[in-house]
């Protein structure tokens, strides 16, 4: 498989997974507004954390900085998170990037995947959509979620479970582990309270919902929602597909499958990625929630996210940039020249 293609497949799948995470976060926060009958101050407190920058994010545009300060205008935040093209993590931006990556590799993925992703992209490019989504948020977010999950399901059902599929899985699960860790980190401060009042409980349920894990939790524990158990479930559960541990295991499996192929050239460094991921995965496998909370949940989650970023770096270096050449993130000038040459070719194609 071409390195360039593998890289695009990986990122296509990461962006699809990311759009799911972002969508759930928005939806759940919106729900909380209704559940808690927010006054303006708490309302802003609810939305502000969602604006917390992630690594590599640029600074917030001024209208949002104001929002965070003025503690108002939840709608502006929602629109930023869901639709704004300047926000690299907005749903629209994620699907746009996923589609751009898919377009580069559409001969490699299945037509079903490409067509689903393309129709989701077409659906999201309707300029009237932000208003529609405000009027009927549930229908909107449900549709986006269903279609994104359809793409993931199609990857399992229509691709041969070979190299390309493993890159899809790797992308999905690395992204998921990262997102769940991030969502938990956003709520880690709640653990400082006694966690027994009604408002906190609603919040912890909402954390589960943001990770699509409320039903799974209920079935697994069949017990009232308790902060430590929520952390345990989302971080350490070995069977639930949204947990960090489960995601890491799946990612590790795919990575091992990728490196176990007969390679004509032995690449000792291949093990660096597998080793880093295996180590992280094993760590979660043998951790207990009490120890984690005792040692500091926030710090622990930060470490997990840092290690995940390292794994991504290893994968990129070892599998996707086989030989030193200019990366896929080309400079603006180079991109413009490439475009012009490709179009010039169009004039020559008869």
């Amino acid at each position: 498989m071409l390195c360039r293609v593998a890289e695009d497949v990986l990122w296509m799948s990461r962006y699809v997974e990311r759009s799911l995470a972002v969508g759930r976060l928005i939806e759940v926060s919106q729900h909380l507004e209704f559940d808690e009958h927010d006054d303006p101050a708490t309302r802003a407190a609810r939305w502000a954390p969602l604006l917390a920058p992630r690594p590599n994010d640029g600074p917030l545009p001024s209208q949002l900085v104001d929002v965070a300060e003025e503690r108002a205008a939840a709608r502006t935040v929602r629109q930023w998170l869901a639709f704004h093209k300047d926000n690299p993590r907005s749903i629209v931006a994620c699907i746009d990037r996923a589609r751009t990556a898919a377009r580069q590799v559409r001969e490699r993925i299945s037509s079903e995947m490409w067509e689903s992703l393309n129709s989701l992209h077409l659906f999201l490019s309707n300029p009237a959509l932000p208003d529609v989504a405000e009027r009927n948020p549930h229908a909107f977010f449900q549709r986006v979620r269903n279609e994104a999950q359809l793409i993931q399901g199609l990857a399992d059902a229509t691709l041969a479970h070979d190299e390309c599929w493993h890159f899809v899985r790797l992308g999905t699960f690395l992204e998921r582990a990262d997102n769940v860790a991030h969502t938990l980190a956003l709520q880690a401060h709640l653990l400082r309270d006694d966690g027994r009042n009604e408002a906190d409980m609603v919040r912890w349920i909402s954390v589960l919902r943001s990770c699509g894990a409320a039903e799974g939790y209920a079935r697994y524990y069949s017990h009232r929602v308790e902060p430590a158990r929520v952390v345990e479930f989302l971080l350490l559960n070995p069977h639930f597909p949204q947990s960090v541990r489960f995601s890491l295991q799946q990612a590790w499996k795919s990575l091992r499958a990728l490196s176990a192929d007969d390679t004509p050239i032995p690449r000792h460094s291949a093990s660096a990625a597998t080793r880093a991921l295996g180590l992280l995965s094993a760590q979660l496998e043998h951790a207990t929630v009490d120890e984690i909370i005792e040692s500091g949940l926030h710090g622990y989650l930060n470490d997990v996210q840092r290690d995940l970023a390292r794994v991504t770096d290893h994968v990129t270096r070892i599998y996707l940039r086989d030989e030193p050449h200019e990366g896929r993130l080309v400079g603006v000038a180079r991109a413009i020249r490439l475009m012009a040459e490709q179009q010039q070719q169009a004039r020559r194609e008869s």
Binding site: E115, I265, A346, R348
Partner: protein, 498 residues
Amino acid sequence: MSAQPAIEPMPLVPSVPRSALESYDLGGFWDEVFEHPGVPRPHYVALSRRLATLSPEEVEARRRAADVSFRVGGITFAVNQGAEGVEKIMPFDLVPRVIVPEEWDRVSRGLEQRIRALNLFLDDVYHGQRILRAGVLPPELVLGARGYRRELRGVDVPLGVYTHVMGSDLVRDASGELCVLEDNLRTPSGVSYVLENRRVLERVWPQIFHDYDVRPVEGYPQDLLEVLQAIAPPTVEEPVVVVLTPGVYNSAYFEHCALAKAMGVELVQGSDLFVDDGAVFMRTTQGRRRVDVIYRRIDDDFLDPLAFRSDSMLGVPGLLACYRLGRVSLANSIGTGVADDKAVYALVPEIIRYYLSEEPILGNVPTYLPVRRDDLRYVLAHLDELVVKSVNESGGYGMMIGPHASRAEIAEFRARIVADPRNYVAQPTLALSRHPCWVDDHLEGRHVDLRPFVLFGREVRITPGGLTRVALRSGSLVVNSSQGGGGKDTWVLARPEA
């Protein structure tokens, strides 16, 4: 949804439903469907009966379904608009074009003859140059062609075949005979629309296939793959084939993907390939992998920055050297542009006679070469009647249609022809045949051409039909998709009559 067919001002809306064909006007042109007003040709009887009974709502619904199908499939081409890569769908007309077996037989024999003669010509001009020494063709015309690559002199190509894929444009002359308007021997595009137009029409309007026995087109990618495997360097047992694309901003990118996918081969860009020790490799997740055959959709000029344009970022440095050594095969070969040069085109009948000792089965459009003094005088005196084309451009660029041109344009082309007569050819303005197309709620005649696709490896294989391109603007003669043209499904019938 953009890219709706151009819409004419609507006539008075009749209060009673009427047949979409009721006021169909032949306009004095050779019509593909009607022999005389109201009298369809025998092979169009069943189709026109169906067309007459359709309600406008039904047509609209099917047309919309077709648009959605193209849109969702991402079957789009990028339009040249600076750095903004706008994706458009090619307008698709629902009414298929029908070709009877006898006519197709003549066309395919004519195309086979043509591709064989042109390959012998290419082999000759890059080897002994007998045709030049025999004085059949003027050497300066051939060796001075922009597409002639002296780097290829003396290079033997696999099977002696240079043009593995040919897309020739056919039009009807005034008598209704199909003849060749131009040959495309470099990187002809459009075959994916042959496949997609059929797939979409079957999807949105399956009923019309009931009346006819239509020959399938979907074998094309397999045929192409066979050709590509056949031309691999002879020492290779299981050749690795790739499709080389300029990238997503190229207007034919969809086609490159579709072909790579249907053949099950990698779609690569120049940066995915590199040359080492006289061989071509691609960068894969499992290390380097040898590449044996490249179906390249990049022009010669951009193919190898070490040999041709040094500023090309699309090509592969060192590729030409590997090719000359026979370590990698290219389809089409380098240097085929000399055989579809528009001035050389005028001499193809001579080329056929010289190499095959046969009369051309398919005629040429009369062509004036201003490089000849008599022709120049005639061309300059009749610019307002002629179509003038630059010999090196395609896709409807660099041309002037005399009867539709302004005084200023004519003056400009006059100056350009005088300055560089070798660079231009002129042809009489053709009355291209017309075919009914949906315009609002009724059918109107629009000019069409036909681009069949011819494959040549161990043998010649021609996909039945080809791409029928339609000039959707009323009265327009330009069918190129970059100039607002659309497409139709094209049926070659398996049996003489429907």
